[in-house]
């Protein structure tokens, strides 16, 4: 009769709950203090110790040496960037956004929003006024390698992974195909390559190796292309398998590496537009080449 009715009151004469609901019930919560349930689990106790305490199993000494690039940024580049990117009396520029339906008609419920006005299909971010508080910084660097041969022999991810670990000194993660691409014989879930996301000391170490050792030795390298960039301040460059040989970690025992693959390097910055990101990156001895196109919305 009342299968869906949930009765929370207990009766003394019943051995079990008087009305068992046939649906899953989320019990109401009455306490006011927020807490995390796993904090009470004995097996999770080691994770309650803060990471920066030597008692934690996750402890790693953080600051063991100078960070030259970070200091260079703070001492020299930051103040120059503030001057270069300053625009007097500028205002926030709103990006184009998707347009929601008005909701007048009941048919508007769950209807996907309209794309932005004009010929753009993808919404863009707002560009905020540049101040001393939002100066562009390098947030992270991604190094990724795709290997075509992984499609036929999945174990080929191993040399790729080891190579990335050697040049970045960080453990890489594998990249898996997200969908089927029949023309490449690629199916969802297959290994395609490996990638590393670098931050902090590992990132600056990689950047200085790149700018001081690797790129100067590449004969045909003129600079990062000025056309590179995704429109929101992330600049990328590519290295071929031959270029990778210039990394000292690979060069030291070059004969071991019978097969190397090239990689993409993406420098993620907090600059809101690409020209600002290029100015920032040029401060780290990374040259740019070619004609630069200034986007209309800056």
């Amino acid at each position: 009769m009342n299968g869906g009715l949930i009765q929370f009151a207990r009766g003394f004469h019943a051995t079990s709950a008087s009305a068992k609901a046939k649906i899953s019930v989320v019990e109401p919560v009455h306490h006011l203090v927020k807490y995390k349930k796993w904090h009470l689990k004995p097996s999770m106790a080691p994770f309650l110790i803060p990471k920066n305490s030597p008692e934690s199993h996750r402890y790693r000494p953080a600051t063991t040496r100078q960070d030259r690039i970070l200091e260079h940024y703070n001492n020299t580049i930051a103040s120059d960037l503030l001057l270069i990117t300053h625009k007097h009396e500028s205002t926030n520029k709103l990006g184009v956004k998707t347009r929601e339906w008005s909701g007048e008609s009941p048919y508007h419920i769950n209807r996907p929003a309209k794309p932005p006005r004009g010929n753009r299909l993808v919404p863009t971010q707002d560009i905020k006024v540049r101040t001393n508080k939002n100066l562009p910084v390098i947030e992270k660097v991604t190094v990724e390698t795709y290997d075509k041969t992984c499609v036929h022999a999945a174990e080929n991810y191993i040399p790729v992974k080891v190579m990335l670990q050697q040049i970045t000194s960080t453990k890489p993660t594998l990249i898996y195909a997200k969908k089927n691409i029949p023309t490449w014989n690629l199916r969802r879930g297959m290994v395609m390559g490996a990638k590393v996301e670098l931050g902090g000391r590992a990132m600056t170490d990689f950047l200085s190796t790149l700018s001081l050792i690797v790129l100067p030795r590449i004969k045909e390298f003129k600079g990062i292309k000025n056309t590179s960039g995704d429109g929101s301040g992330n600049i990328s460059l590519g290295l071929t398998a031959e270029d990778i040989r210039h990394f000292p970690e690979i060069e030291a025992n070059g004969e071991v590496w019978n097969k190397l693959s090239g990689c993409n390097i993406i420098i993620h910055t907090s600059a809101q537009v690409d020209p600002d990101a290029r100015t920032l990156i040029s401060g780290l001895n990374l040259p740019f080449t070619g004609k630069e196109k200034i986007p209309s919305r800056v």
Partner: protein
């Protein structure tokens, strides 16, 4: 050998002798390590002074991390300098408090001052050592802060979780926002503080428990507390339900920060009757509620029906409302019928308990 000498000299030259130590609050003795040996090991390193926490054998094998002894004096210097500036700010606030007339303003300034005093001492290695060794004085803000931090990270959330899963809230009071730590111990179960939600034998609970009410804020002058022990699982056959009965009530309790134990001859609202669950009733919850009394409210009369003090069919929500009580903490333990229950009933001169059938349908008995 020469390098060892060099290190010794460098430590002496930087020094944390009398001049530097003056920067921490030297007037409060509880902010210092009392044992001279422990203090030396802590401030000068265990490579020259034997660690008081390691055994003699273990300390022979023990090596300090490299470079720690060299870098510590500089770190200590930084922390002392900061502490000094914070104490200066606190003393300036004190002057402001003396001039202020608005009571709310004074309260806010006092809170600010306490936060500064905590920050001035929280990085002091001696304070950290004393806290770890449990040699603390709760009158000092920094120890109160550390104790509250420790309690609210584990014991507090465990208590809330037990109250929620055992449905103590909302079966007794609608909710809980704990501000004090409540601990319960039974004289028959010495040196063991009862864990929240624990199922105890009726023999253990046959004598009245001992309570500990630990405040973490300064206790205002004349602040008093009330404790109620209730059983919300008393069978109510007539209504096919349960009713609440009052096992024990204590009122006008005074505790201090350093002496949190509730005095055994505090004024009773009603005598202690031990938990004596009847056979085949579900496991009973025995809930301890601790309330802060309103300073202006008149005292609650013992055994007074007008004041809502009654053993059976006790209405805790009405009682709290009537006397303007603020629930600040609680505790719960559980009892079921066991082989000692009848014995306990005889000791207290209670009538023999009923025996219910094991299987009870929704049909009334």
């Amino acid at each position: 050998m020469s390098s060892r000498l060099l290190i010794n000299r460098s430590i002496k030259s930087v020094g944390f002798g009398n001049s530097a130590a003056r920067r921490f609050n030297s007037s409060v003795s509880s902010l210092k390590v009392q044992s001279q040996a422990a203090k030396q090991a802590l401030l000068q390193g265990v490579s020259q002074n034997r660690s008081t926490t390691l055994s003699k054998k273990a300390s022979l094998r023990y090596n300090s991390p490299e470079g720690l002894d060299q870098v510590f004096p500089f770190a200590y210097e930084i922390i002392q300098t900061r502490s000094k500036s914070l104490y200066l700010q606190a003393s300036e606030l004190e002057k402001q408090i003396a001039q202020e007339t608005n009571a709310n303003q004074v309260q806010a300034l006092k809170q600010q001052r306490e936060a500064l005093l905590v920050e001035a001492e929280i990085n002091n290695p001696e304070v950290q050592y004393n806290f770890q060794m449990n040699q603390i004085n709760m009158e000092v803000p920094v120890y109160r802060h550390l104790a509250k931090q420790k309690w609210s990270k584990y014991e507090m959330i465990k208590m809330i979780q037990r109250f929620e899963t055992l449905h103590v809230i909302p079966d007794t009071l609608p909710t809980i926002n704990p501000e004090v730590e409540v601990n319960v111990q039974f004289p028959n179960f010495v040196n063991k503080w009862v864990e929240n939600g624990e199922i105890l034998s009726t023999k253990v609970t046959s004598r009245a428990p001992i309570f500990k009410i630990q405040e973490f804020n300064e206790i205002p002058q004349g602040q008093k507390y009330t404790i109620l022990v209730i059983d919300p699982d008393t069978p109510d056959i007539k209504n096919n339900s349960f009713s609440t009965s009052l096992l024990w009530g204590l009122t006008d309790i005074e505790v201090s920060l350093n002496n949190p134990l509730v005095h055994f001859d505090s004024r009773q609202l009603i005598d202690y009757v031990p938990p004596v669950p009847e056979k085949n009733t579900p496991t009973h919850r025995y809930v301890v509620w601790v309330f802060r009394q309103n300073i202006d409210s008149p005292p609650i009369q013992s055994n007074s029906i007008e004041d809502g003090v009654q053993r059976n069919r006790f209405d805790i929500r009405a009682f709290v409302k009537q006397h303007n009580l603020q629930p600040v903490g609680g505790h719960v333990w559980r009892n079921a019928w066991d082989r000692f229950t009848e014995e306990v009933r005889q000791d207290y001169g209670l009538p023999a308990g009923r025996v219910f059938s094991k299987e009870r349908n929704s049909v009334r008995l």
